[in-house]
């Protein structure tokens, strides 16, 4: 049978070995048909990964080979999607991207020059030293970098970052998270730019001379009872004695601390076949371990990566420029108080408020969105104070709430409610209570509402990519009132969705949080 490449995915013969996919002459993805696909007439259809889909519009050469490149299943020019431009998986700066082993889009080390690799090695070494001397934890090289060092004596092709782990002495997840907060504070004080990925791992962003950022993941490892846990999502049996005291390994001329028994660690991570290269390898983590790690350490940034992917991807061009109809509805009600656009996205409304002379702040949980708004504000010469607010994180909410309690604003949130889970919604009401009680500002909300027509139910996914959901206005009103707010106005009218398309039902709410009386204060 022949291999077929289409908008649906790649139809190829059933096989349980991996294949590599190149677009425009560059590696983008590896797949194993039996594991990743669905059997159908003619073979196995492996759907395109969601992260690649926004890039699959245009014409270009697609090549599917085995891992050695010797067996070519497909090599032809193909047209995908509705676009007629060249097909290429690149970021805005033109850097090539590929899908990594956990399904994220990332840059590949494949094309990394020797001097840049040297910067990565030196930066990783500096991170280990800073972690030991300033954050008080001893880190060891792990995952791909360890595998490359032990198996091949060099970094693996297609690997895009280096991974460090430290073995915590704590056994209570709350203590492990507190320790991780302390580590990020210490590393920031050392000048590292970093992202928090969960309660137990941070990503150090190392700027490289070729203009890109290398990611150095710093994962916690710990034991609870006899079970060993190591972020990403690993859990199982590995005694402390397999890790400490550390051994030393050499990678590209640099010495790194490594687990005492690196082979035992690699077997724990990659299975007993770890000596055989498999670019499409995926972890088979015990579900009970993943459930525990999710419950203990995660939950505050579940869709952050998808929003960042949207903001930095090609689909963001679909968001209209200029003020939304809701911004025009709100503007005459603002008076003298400044306004904070919560979940600002591309910043279209925040920038417009600022241009009209309102003191304006803008917050979003995606750092990419915050960067975009800052850049636009600078370009247009308007003053928008843009910052990150993670409503899933109590720390972040309390910080902004404390500031706003001392510097009263209105809160403005368009198409935010439908993006939040219940814990994040609770934090939004907490923020509103802290921010609006002292100064008398208002909360202005607009969201896609439930309605009686088709696709009108609560939770119905909407553009972009189902990241916005329809919400029942009565539930929002009840939640505001339960949090001490008063709904002053509520209307449901036809309007616009996030991408400017027609929406048969959008809800607009204006709510206030009256000052507490003595009884409430007790």
């Amino acid at each position: 049978m022949s291999t077929v490449v289409s908008d649906d995915g790649i139809l190829l013969p059933a096989a349980s070995r991996p294949f590599l996919v190149e677009i425009d002459g560059h590696y983008v993805w590896s797949l194993t048909p039996e594991r990743d696909g669905v059997r159908q007439l003619g073979g196995v259809l492996v759907p395109w990964p969601g992260v690649l889909r926004p890039y699959l519009s245009g014409r270009g050469r697609v090549r599917v080979t085995d891992t050695t490149g010797a067996e070519v299943l497909y090599d032809a020019e193909v047209g995908l999607g509705a676009g007629d431009g060249p097909l290429a998986v690149v970021d805005r700066a033109g850097n090539r991207l590929c899908v990594d082993k956990v399904g994220h889009l990332t840059r590949s080390f494949e094309a990394t020059a020797e001097e840049v690799r040297e910067e990565i090695m030196a930066g990783t070494r500096r991170a280990i030293d800073d972690l030991r001397e300033h954050a008080g934890v001893k880190a060891y090289l792990n995952y791909g970098a360890l595998l490359g060092a032990i198996r091949e004596g060099r970094m693996l092709a297609h690997d895009s970052d280096t991974d460090l782990c430290y073995l915590s002495d704590h056994t209570s997840p709350a203590d492990i998270i507190t320790e991780s907060y302390r580590i990020s504070r210490a590393m920031r004080a050392r000048g590292w730019n970093l992202l928090r990925m969960s309660g137990g791992d941070i990503k150090l962003l190392l700027p490289l001379s070729d203009g890109r950022l290398c990611h150095i993941d710093v994962f916690v490892a710990f034991h609870v009872g006899d079970t060993f846990f190591q972020l990403g999502n690993r859990s199982g049996d590995l005694p402390r004695s397999a890790i400490e005291p550390f051994s030393t390994i050499e990678l590209h001329g640099h010495e790194f601390p490594a687990p005492r028994d690196p082979e035992a660690m690699l077997a724990f991570l990659y299975g007993l076949d770890w000596r055989t290269p498999d670019p499409s390898f995926r972890y088979a983590d015990p579900p009970a371990g993943v459930r525990r790690l999710d419950g203990w350490l995660r939950g505050f940034r579940a869709e952050m990566g998808l929003w960042t992917g949207f903001v930095t991807g090609p689909d963001v061009r679909s968001v209209p420029r200029g003020p939304s109809p809701f911004a025009r509805w709100v503007a005459p009600q603002l008076g003298e108080l400044p306004v904070l656009d919560v979940g600002t996205g591309t910043g279209r409304d925040a920038l417009w408020f600022a241009r009209r002379g309102h003191r304006t702040g803008a917050v979003d949980f995606s750092r990419a969105a915050v960067t975009m708004v800052r850049r636009k504000a600078a370009r247009h010469g308007v003053d928008v104070d843009a910052d990150q607010l993670i409503l899933g994180e109590l720390r972040s909410t309390l910080l902004h709430g404390t500031r706003l309690a001392r510097d009263p604003h209105h809160l403005y949130a368009r198409q935010l409610i439908g993006c939040l889970d219940d814990p994040a919604l609770d934090q939004l009401w907490r923020l509103a209570r802290m921010a609006l009680r002292p100064g008398g500002g208002r909360l202005f909300l607009e969201f896609s509402a439930t309605h009686d027509g088709p696709d009108g139910a609560a939770g119905t996914p909407l553009a972009p990519e189902g990241l916005v959901r329809r919400v029942d206005p009565a539930r929002v009103q009840a939640a505001i009132e339960a949090a001490g707010g008063v709904v002053e106005e509520l209307v449901v009218v036809p309007g616009e969705d996030l991408l400017g398309g027609d929406d048969p039902a959008i809800c607009r709410i204006r709510a206030a949080w009256p000052a507490r009386n003595t009884k409430d204060d007790r």
Binding site: A174, T178, W296, E393, R395, L399, R406, P423
Partner: protein, 86 residues
Amino acid sequence: MSTHDLRTRVREQAKHRLPAPVVDRIRARASLRERVRVLEAEAQESRQLNRRIAELTDVVAELLIPLDARDQDRVDEVLARYQQGL
């Protein structure tokens, strides 16, 4: 009669032919499955308290105690430093 109706009718007939103890065991098993599902959800809720405890500990230690000084310059400094460290 549709396939679905037929399947439902056959199931109902089979149920009536089963001895009562067997029906009770099936019911008990279904109820156990539901109880396990609920227990798992509750266990997950408890696990999530770890992050809440850690966040509160962090806020109290790093923000609340310094803010108690009530000195606006000091408050601004503490807030800025806390944000940089998040």
